[in-house]
């Protein structure tokens, strides 16, 4: 166990500081939100140049073979800056699935494209009404057909899909157990998507597959391993998101700490009122515990599935609630200004709310962790 940053981690954080800090402000966020994809493709190219998109990619594909801690530290920085780039979808989720793909050579090629910034991949696995933590519960069906598959079904709220060139789609395979993971071009004939923004400015799509024809090699991971691989990938995405939440909370606390020293009421800075001081103390405690719990999730990220998922869900509970505390209190100390789109705190608030509910919400993670305790 070592809390100190390694050289590569220090470099990552240093480059993150340089690239992100200049654009971590309301003006930038509002501008991105109103842009076509919700983020700046030029900055995505810079992510590639800095090696961020190669972070978890194996050296064999020209990557950095980074650890989950490396990913977490970079995502803390992304969270601080409220970056809306589809980093988690492409670099954490898709990378992890590709690394488990049957056709290793092709996967390495795709990973290389990701690392180079020329390919973005989004995961489309959630179906309306399905339990987010039960990734096997897919009604989408792939029927073997003419040396390939015909895919039909629908997915909801595929995060970052509008900016992705390809999708990883989970589906039952007719005649097989489990679920398979398919790689599909986002513009495949028969695929239709309705895209929309989320409240944090990121984008998602509802996708319908109407007998989409897939070649045999579209199947990345077969039904025997699909669910396990997907659970792993989603858990890693959860960790990256939690890291972003920790970054967002710490940044929000900074913003609030400065605000309560500036803002005057009754002739004095509101930070001189004990009630405000105690709210800020609560926020500090919450963010501090959130970071501790991120560490707990990281320490168990590569443990057996039961241990990993219990640790992850426990972390989601603490971090999710901490996010509520920090952002709601943050708005409260800002008064009316906190409700405007023109102050940073409202942006942190919306981002933290999104993270809290993606890949399982507090109810679902609470239930899973409770079950892990009592069996």
């Amino acid at each position: 166990m070592d809390f100190a940053k390694s050289d590569i981690q220090a470099m990552l954080l240093d480059s993150a500081e340089r690239l992100l800090s200049e654009n971590a402000d309301v003006e930038y966020w509002r501008h991105q939100r109103s842009s076509a994809l919700g983020f700046d493709e030029a900055r995505w190219a810079q992510f590639a140049e800095l090696g961020w998109l190669a972070l978890p990619v194996p050296e064999a594909a020209g990557g950095l073979d980074g650890t989950i801690e490396d990913i977490a530290l970079l995502n803390i920085a992304l969270g601080k800056a409220l970056a809306t780039e589809p980093y988690v979808s492409t670099v954490v989720l898709a990378d992890h699935v590709l690394k488990q793909a049957v056709d290793e050579a092709r996967a390495l090629e795709l990973l290389g494209e990701i690392a180079g910034g020329t390919l973005r991949i989004a995961l489309a696995h959630q179906e309306n009404g399905a339990h987010p933590l039960d990734v096997e519960a897919a009604a989408t069906l792939a029927r073997p057909s003419a040396g390939g598959y015909l895919l039909s079904g629908s997915k909801i709220m595929a995060l970052d899909a509008p900016s992705a060139g390809r999708l990883i789609v989970s589906a039952r395979i007719e005649g097989e157990e489990g679920i398979g993971l398919f790689l599909i071009p986002a513009d495949a004939p028969g695929l239709s998507a309705e895209s929309y923004p989320l409240i944090d400015g990121t984008r998602a799509s509802d996708i319908v597959f109407a007998d989409v024809t897939l070649p045999a090699d579209a199947l990345l991971v077969g039904g025997n391993r699909g669910a396990a691989v997907l659970r792993e990938a989603v858990d890693r995405a959860s960790i990256a998101l939690m890291a972003q939440a920790v970054g967002a909370m710490e940044a929000a606390n900074k913003v609030c700490g400065a605000y309560v020293q500036e803002r005057k009421q009754f002739g004095t800075a509101i930070g001189s009122f004990q009630a405000i001081q105690h709210i800020m103390a609560d926020n500090f405690v919450a963010a501090h515990q959130a970071r501790s719990m991120l560490y707990h999730a990281l320490a168990n990220a590569d443990a057996d599935e039961a241990t990993r998922s219990a640790a992850l869900s426990a972390a989601r509970l603490v971090i999710g609630e901490a996010g509520q505390t920090v952002s709601r209190n943050g708005i409260q100390v800002h008064g009316g200004y906190g409700l405007t789109d023109e102050y940073a705190i409202g942006h942190y608030f919306r981002r933290l709310m999104c993270i809290e509910k993606q890949y399982g919400d507090l109810i679902q993670h609470g239930e899973r962790f409770g079950d892990s305790i009592f069996g």
Partner: protein, 400 residues
């Protein structure tokens, strides 16, 4: 003490329900039900006032001489409750519940004759200009000045958080007419037409996509002196009267009851992994506590309406209603949001009316819940923040 509901009131409730059912147009009800933001239906609001007015019920709480219904507080409670239950449009609270009572209590005959009918008949939308950028919780520090020059006040300054100012015809403002006395003493209550030269309104973009709250800039705005209500320097007193007159309003009890019912509908409509959200025990336990807390709030409102005597000044009860009312608004809207899980994260634009047509995945309740929940964080801020209310309570109830 005898606490069962008077059976006559049940009869009254039935009559009210039938009345609303008869006069509320179906398309208006539908728009109200499906609106994305809380304040998204201005034309309906005035039209509804006109409908109610046609039946003599647009300002039932006013004195009968000004168009009120002469109802008891319990009857008014039931009338309001049924309006919300039926998804009728909101009142224009600024006119009917804030300005109105100040006007008919303190206004000159000229002002009463001119404005009370406009409010009652649903002719005008009203903006409230109290807060200023530098004076949120510390309202008495407001600096917008009104200088008497001849028979006009010349107003200069800036207001903020003026709801709906962009669509309001008239506004009522707190302005400083005397800088040389104690802050509370130098404030006056002034009616200003919103299209008067020198007024600029900026809509403030909100975190939920609305731009309902506004900044109002007043630059040498000339206002006829007879639009000052009552006496100069008494504005603070009138503003306090207004708040005390509407002690139970801040409880948002009718709104919260309606929204809790909607939260229930959502919990029954949404399923996760084949289980209704309503059947999730953790969700159900949380829902039960919120509903119980809302019942407690409702009885607290009834106690205030009945002027029940208790061990503290009556104003303490008003702060209790404000604190619990605002907290429960937030809890109820978050129940709605949490019942929808990740689906609550979808952003729905407030501009297009109506919102997208319902689908299996996105039922009619989906658009708007998060829009409202986000802006509802304001409930514990405006009208005296939760922290201010607690200061007040500690003082009133315990002398601290």
């Amino acid at each position: 003490m005898e606490l069962r509901l008077d059976p006559d009131l049940e009869t009254f409730r039935k009559e009210v329900r039938a009345f609303i059912d008869r006069v509320l147009p179906a398309d208006m009800k539908e728009r109200q039900l499906r609106k994305v933001a809380n304040n998204a239906a201005v034309p309906d609001l005035l039209e509804w006032m006109r409908i109610l007015n046609a039946h003599g019920r647009s300002v039932p709480h006013w004195p009968e001489e000004h168009g009120g219904c002469g109802w008891t507080p319990m009857q008014l409670f039931i009338f309001n409750e049924e309006l919300y239950k039926a998804d009728a449009p909101e009142f224009d609270w600024g006119g009917t519940h804030m300005l109105g009572p100040v006007l008919y209590t303190y206004g000159s005959d000229y002002l009463k004759d001119k404005f009370l009918p406009m409010i009652r008949e649903g002719v005008t939308m009203w903006a409230q200009g109290f807060s200023e950028p530098g004076s949120g919780s510390d309202l008495a520090s407001l600096r917008t000045s009104a200088e008497l020059v001849g028979d006009k006040y010349v107003v200069n300054g800036q207001k903020i958080w003026t709801s709906g100012a962009a669509h309001a015809d008239w506004g009522f403002f707190l302005v400083r007419t005397d800088k040389n006395v104690k802050p509370q003493r130098g404030i006056s209550f002034l009616i200003i037409k919103m299209d008067t030269p020198g007024i600029t309104v900026r809509q403030i973009p909100q975190i939920n996509g609305e731009a309902h709250l506004c900044e109002v800039f007043l630059d040498n705005v000339e206002v006829p002196a007879d639009q000052l209500i009552g006496e100069p320097g008494m504005g603070w007193t009138y503003a306090k009267f207004l708040l005390e007159h509407e002690r139970t309003t801040s409880s948002f009890i009718y709104w919260s009851k309606r929204e809790l019912a909607r939260a229930k509908d959502i919990a029954l409509g949404e399923s996760v992994g084949g289980r209704r959200v309503a059947d999730d025990p953790a969700f159900r336990a949380r829902f039960a506590k919120v509903e119980a807390d809302l019942l407690a709030l409702e009885w607290s409102v009834l106690r205030v309406l009945a002027h029940e005597e208790f061990d503290a000044p009556e104003a303490a009860a008003a702060s209790v209603l404000k604190i619990r009312g605002s907290e429960l608004q937030q809890e109820i809207t978050m129940l709605q949001v949490d019942a929808m899980g990740a689906k609550s994260l979808r952003f729905f634009d407030v501009a297009p009316v109506p919102p997208p047509a319902p689908t299996d995945a996105w039922p009619d309740y989906a658009p708007g819940r998060t829009t409202v929940a986000l802006i509802n964080r304001a409930a514990t801020i405006y009208g005296g923040s939760k922290q201010i209310q607690k200061n007040i309570l500690a003082k009133l109830a315990f002398g601290l």
